[in-house]
Symmetry: C2
Subunit: 459 residues, 2 copies
């Protein structure tokens, strides 16, 4: 089937009616504090919709959750929002009642400046944990960002830059698709490089099956018309297949947040929640024959693409990462088993260091499978490698026994910067994929920080 969407250039301002900006306001207090942007990475972004928009959100399930997350969880429930203010350099986490007052104050400054109800403003933060926000600087930044909104065509990339922390590059994508006769778009940007293994839910509460271990922030905009409950259902599905399936270091952050705004300016008949939920039970071909279901299906597939593309960018740009590995487990007795097996392998320090070394060490993979919560039978396991998405597999293990594939052939498969690792447990019909990274000296060096320079210390 032809893809129902196409990638276009741009990011969060690609859909109609969205404006953005990004400024430097010295949130890390590097000392200038004068709003000078020379040589300093931007650290405060603003995203607004010209009209109130449907909103949906997914948040960290960490029991220690940052003040801005607490504010968003409450406001997203109302279903309508119009602005998002984001800072980098300080996570506003573990900051007590003062942190909560500061998060609310950020939204109040935006609301006052842009003349919108305060509860239509959302907030997100990322950076070091446990330090109060320098609110004088933050206020100055918000005022500067508000006055800059849409001032130039570069405002989009300024916002994309402003949300980054240890990221080495900006992460953005936008797609265009048809909803009936109307053309609609979804744009997105994200950040995240360490403390990455998100396990997000819409309430911030942890479902029993949720992975427990990321800071990643993602902001998605669309001009599609979609009810807030439908947007929440679609975002839940898209995050489950993307951000909740990546891991850099197995640590789940206090600040993980995905926010989506859809302002309806594309003018399509609004997508409703019942249609999004029916997609789970309807074959995609028959969905395409029903105009309403078709719109829901197209929107879902476009949103899935945006989330997965952004999620993979996070892993590829992970701290010190030199290899991107898709761990695909099949033949598990249950989806929970497939997921547990894939995560045990993807988070094993010994497996990850072997990837870094280009070592096709199936012994360490078997070891990790063996201690995972998944049921494993040693003499049933197959292990193979392939180029990403390729059907040409090189087996290192079949039914628990090493194949005759020469060691150098296996080394070549693992030497690639990106490869798929296929594990078949041969016990059942369930499968799962996790997008993972290697563990390098650079990761350790970066995260040990430099205590002689507290400003260098990460989140």
């Amino acid at each position: 089937m032809k893809s129902p969407f196409k990638e276009i250039g741009g990011s969060i301002t690609a859909p109609q009616g969205f404006l953005a900006s990004g400024v430097f306001c010295d949130i890390k207090r590097l000392g200038t504090g004068k709003g000078s942007e020379k040589g300093k990475k931007r650290d405060l972004a603003l995203i607004i919709s010209e009209v109130p928009a449907a909103v949906a959100g997914m948040f960290t399930t960490n029991q220690v959750c940052a003040a801005p997350v607490k504010v968003c969880v409450q406001r997203v429930k109302q279903g309508t929002a119009q602005a998002i203010v984001v800072n980098s350099g300080n996570a506003n986490a573990c900051t007590g009642p003062r942190g909560l007052r500061d998060a609310v104050a950020m939204t109040e400054i935006v609301a006052r400046q842009l003349h919108m109800p305060v509860d239509h403003v959302l907030v997100a933060s990322t950076g070091r944990i446990g330090t109060p926000l320098p609110m004088v600087f933050v206020k100055r930044g918000i005022l500067a960002a508000a006055s800059r909104l849409g001032a130039s065509s570069a405002c989009d990339s300024e916002a994309t830059e402003a949300i980054l922390t240890s990221d080495t590059r900006a992460k953005q994508v936008a797609v265009e698709f048809k909803l009936g006769a109307r053309t609609a778009r979804i744009g997105g940007m994200c950040k995240g490089a360490g403390m990455i293994q998100p396990g997000m839910s819409s309430t911030g509460l942890r479902p029993a099956s949720t992975p427990r271990h990321a800071t990643m922030l993602c902001f998605i905009t669309s001009d599609a018309a979609i009810e807030a409950t439908a947007l929440q259902a679609a975002l839940h599905e898209a995050v489950a297949l993307s951000f909740n399936r990546i891991t850099v270091d197995g640590d789940m952050s206090t600040n993980d947040t995905v926010l989506a705004l859809a302002n309806g300016l594309a003018g399509n008949p609004a997508i409703v929640a019942s249609d999004v939920r029916r997609l789970t039970f309807v074959h995609s071909k028959s969905a395409m024959r029903n105009p309403k279901l078709r719109d829901a299906a197209v929107f879902q597939s476009a949103l899935n693409h945006v989330c997965l593309a952004l999620a993979k960018m996070i892993v590829r740009d992970g701290e010190g990462v030199s290899r991107f590995v898709t761990v695909r487990v099949s033949g598990a007795e249950s989806v929970a088993d497939a997921d547990a097996a894939a995560r045990a392998v993807a988070n094993s320090a010994l497996v990850k260091t072997s990837w870094h070394g280009g070592d096709p060490n199936w012994g360490r993979i078997m070891d990790a499978l063996g201690y995972s919560a998944a049921k494993i039978v040693e003499d049933k396991v197959d292990i193979a490698y392939s180029a990403p998405g390729s059907r040409q597999w090189t087996y290192s293990l079949k039914r628990g026994q090493p194949t005759r594939t020469p060691f150098q052939t296996l080394c070549a498969a693992v030497a690639a910067g990106e490869f798929d690792l296929h594990i078949n447990l041969n016990l059942g019909r369930s499968s799962a994929a996790v997008y993972a990274a290697d563990l390098t000296e650079e990761y350790v060096d970066f995260n040990k920080g430099d205590v002689s320079d507290p400003a260098s210390l990460g989140g």
Copy 2:
């Protein structure tokens, strides 16, 4: 109370009636293969008791478990053994039916050479996973080791060396104590440097509460008279408080094994299982007034000391380890919660790299607590540092809020090579300790291996 035992020099041959030896037989097939010991680390050890001994064992709960573990689990059940043969350089794991035949063959060679029943011989292996043992070399090694038993006073340290893999130093301890009027001893040796977070049980089956994530091998000898079931109960307790409480990298090995032999030559009235089990319910002071309970209590405390001393040596000699941290969680709602909280902190890549950097980063500690399976209330958590065992604590966090302790004071607390990290959840009365290590560039460099030299690749 005065310690009921004292440390003496020596290792596994300190108790009466034990002999040991260690030889080089080129198990890694480095090319000489001629049994030449010049410049080559010994790789095969033999330990024997002059008379049949009570035996107990604890084994990896990894579902992928090595052939020698499978053999030992069965034989230990009989309660009597007389010899242990151990090789390093090859784990004999994931080696299928051939691996099992090889493990049994190792015991058969020992039995034939030393004239004892084959099921009185135990076997252990450590090294790379997935390669069949070079049995011609192994047989030559066993014959050489058998002829060398007790040949010199250095045989003890030869055996200690022969079980090492990536360890940088030998690990041994011996203690002496009184059982009634008799003098008894316990000696022990162990190895382990990577793939370390044991979760052992006596059956190799995983109890629900067992930590899921080591290769470590440990061999303990005693001349005390103790029934096999009593020895098993005492070993279970000692391992729960020592080897099952350490973590280097969170990976649980396929080969973890602790074996204890007690040959009774000290001539004390035999310690029985019911007395060992009663210790749990009896205050140590009242135990000391009952001669039988007293013997059981003294033996248990001596065994606990031997296991904990050896377990700590493993962490201190962990691959690339530069810091030894005891993570003590108190105030948890349950022991399971205390354990989960301590392990989440001890295994967090971000916490471990911050220790390496000497960074007192309580934000990462709070983050790990928050995603652990333990119940946490952010504004109740206290975090403090101290020198090992010291009552002088330096608080970084009280009730979820940073203290006024200067950053440099906290840095000084974390700069030590060994320190205690105290976390009080202030929710209940349960506590747990985990012995942990930092994560360094050296760990990554060591474990990524060198694929151009397959012999260099670790387990």
